[in-house]
């Protein structure tokens, strides 16, 4: 394996602060980036799938299930990314984000709402001082097919309107054609445009196809400054899967160890049930570790998931199975 040391990323073990300047050395050229990314250990698909499947058999019951449900609610980025989105739709979703179950105020708020840039202002206003953050997709979401200028402008618009988190997409075409430097430079430019907003970099793993690519793209995004790495736009199938998330969790774990900076992970798309959500929590717990079990470091990009979590929560409280008519559809 090529270590970060050989690229001057880390001075000596534990000397976290030395990591900033030499990043440029890995990204000095496309060939240095390529050498670094292709020097990462490979990922065996069958082994990764088996590990994820095994963790999926963990049985989370009683008190730990209650705890997990509330954790999962607090980690949700409640999302609407439709062409048909309107201010009214976004306002309603924001209300749900603050009080997912208006009949039970012990239910925590979700982490954030996630909307298109032009609806950021609406969301910011609707959420007020609730503590729920506003995330916006940007950079010609979901395809990412535009110029860097447009992507930066897209980002700047969302930030200017008050988004505290930006979910950008990488240029998968550039990545798959081996132009890692182009991907790096776009992420770095968008990161600069974010200012103090957190940057989530969407890898669109469904288009990257292999787990080796997922690992490389994860590292590329982190080296370029990502605060979070995110699986999917939700517009491509497959979206988030357990093994892909496993590979990304391994990447953030190893990145912290070698580069000294902690990065968050966000699987998005296809997570619909409490059972799914709990499997992701188990995956985080046993891969990156308990330090990532926090909305600051792990998010679930989802929409319908929240109602299933609420139904399960109610079932645990009442002992009865819940019905969908009792939960709002916003």
């Amino acid at each position: 394996m090529v270590s970060l040391e050989s690229f001057g990323l880390v001075g000596d073990a534990g000397a976290v602060s030395t990591t900033t300047t030499p990043l440029a050395e890995v990204a000095a050229s496309n060939s240095t980036l390529r050498a670094f990314l292709h020097g990462l250990p490979g990922v065996d698909r069958v082994g990764a799938d088996a590990r994820a499947a095994m963790l999926g058999t963990r049985s989370i019951k009683t008190t730990s299930k209650k705890q997990a449900i509330d954790l999962a609610i607090r980690m949700v980025d409640l999302t609407t990314l439709e062409g048909a989105d309107t201010p009214g739709k976004v306002k309603a979703m924001c209300a749900k984000a603050i009080h997912p179950d208006p009949t039970d105020l012990s239910v925590p708020s979700v982490a954030a709402v996630c909307v298109y840039p032009d609806l950021v202002a609406t969301a910011v206003q609707a959420l007020g001082g609730s503590g729920v953050k506003v995330a916006s997709v940007a950079t010609a979401f979901p395809s990412g097919r535009s110029s860097l200028e447009v992507k930066v402008a897209d980002t700047a618009l969302a930030v200017a309107d008050g988004a505290s988190e930006i979910d950008m997409v990488i240029d998968r075409g550039a990545f798959l054609s081996g132009d890692y430097l182009k991907v790096f430079e776009q992420i770095a430019a968008v990161k600069a445009a974010c200012g103090s907003a957190h940057l989530k970099v969407i890898l669109e793993t469904g288009e990257l196809s292999t787990y080796d690519n997922v690992r490389r793209a994860s590292w590329l995004a982190m080296i370029a400054g990502a605060d979070f790495i995110k699986t999917s736009t939700g517009k491509v199938s497959p979206a988030a899967t357990l093994p892909v998330t496993l590979v990304m969790l391994e990447a953030v774990r190893d990145f912290l160890r070698t580069a000294g900076r902690k990065v968050g992970v966000k699987p998005a798309g296809g997570i619909r049930t409490t059972k799914d959500a709990i499997k992701y929590l188990v995956l985080v717990n046993e891969t990156a570790g308990p330090d990532w079990i926090d909305p600051d470091w792990f998010r679930l990009g989802a929409s319908s998931l929240v109602n299933d979590l609420l139904m399960q929560r109610q079932k645990m409280a009442t002992g009865r199975y819940a019905g969908p008519d009792y939960f709002t559809l916003d």
Binding site: D44, R45, V46, G47, D49, S209, T210, Y211
Partner: protein, 288 residues
């Protein structure tokens, strides 16, 4: 004018491609079926057996790693060399076995043909004994044959050439090396066969031939911890049991003496090859 005095051959052992006398300095009288003196054969000791095992072990990595094609070619070459010495073997069989010239000729021809038959197996036994296994999961799974290692062979007393060839060829064609205890009563064809082997591109040590007393030597081979298998075809009742018991010490593969008298002219089947083959199964994930 008197008849020319013949130059007789000294029959020695065959170890590591060389023809040493027994380290013990012992020999024993070999007589014809009519009781006439034929030669003094070397009487191998346990130390000769030990040397032979060392030679066989040394030869194993190279011989087992040789291509099947190469091993087949070499066995075929052995057949060619044997054919070329046909008259010599006929004469030896007439002396040793008391068979007529015609019968002896048939036996030599059968020995040649047996070698040709086994030569052809070198690159086919793996195909009939191996398999691609359809496991229930994303894995490529393949079983293939590999030679067991060093095989001790107690050659049959009867059939000093055809029987001998019929026990050696199936052991070595698959990549094993061997130490053979030749027929005690009729050992001379085995040493002449060694001369054939020595001139057939067969690497030294692949076949080692000891003459002498099976009862004396075979138990040492059976108990030797660097021998992986033993063919007891030529061991009679008591000796076979002793050897099988000794072989248990390192879990040698044991080919027991046949239950009934063997017709060496019959179709030998594959059992003598498969008795000294291991099956190795390799798994590998299938994924992107």
């Amino acid at each position: 004018m008197s008849e020319r005095l013949a130059v007789r051959k000294t029959y020695k052992l065959f170890i590591g491609g060389a023809f040493p006398r027994s380290e013990s300095g012992r020999s024993y009288v070999v007589s014809s079926s009519k009781g006439e003196f034929l030669a003094n054969a070397s009487k191998a000791s346990r130390k000769d057996a030990r040397e032979a095992v060392a030679a066989a072990r040394k030869a194993f990595p190279g011989w087992s790693a040789a291509t099947a094609y190469n091993r087949g070619q070499i066995l075929y070459r052995v057949a060619e060399m044997l054919e070329g010495r046909r008259s010599q073997f006929v004469a030896e069989l007439v002396d040793a076995d008391g068979v007529g010239v015609r019968k002896a000729g048939e036996l030599v021809d059968a020995a040649v043909d047996r070698l040709v038959w086994y030569a052809g197996w070198s690159d086919k036994i793996g195909a009939i004994r191996g398999s691609a296994n359809p496991v229930a999961g994303p894995y490529f799974n393949l079983s293939s044959t590999e030679p067991t290692g060093v095989v001790a062979v107690v050659a049959p007393e009867a059939g000093p050439l055809l029987g001998l060839v019929s026990v050696i060829a199936p052991v070595i064609v698959t990549g094993n090396t061997c130490v053979v205890v030749a027929s005690e009563r009729a050992p001379l064809p085995s040493i002449t066969l060694a001369e054939v082997l020595a001139t057939s591109d067969l690497p030294g040590g692949v076949v080692n031939i000891l003459t002498g007393s099976a009862a004396e030597i075979a138990p040492w081979l059976a108990g030797h911890m660097d021998v992986n298998a033993i063919d007891l075809t030529g061991a009679d009742g008591e000796l076979a049991v002793t050897c099988e018991e000794a072989a248990a010490e390192n879990l040698k593969r044991v080919l027991r003496p046949p239950a009934a008298k063997v017709d060496w002219l019959a179709d030998p089947g594959t059992e003598r090859m498969t008795a000294f083959l291991e099956t190795k199964t390799v798994w590998h994930p299938i994924g992107t």
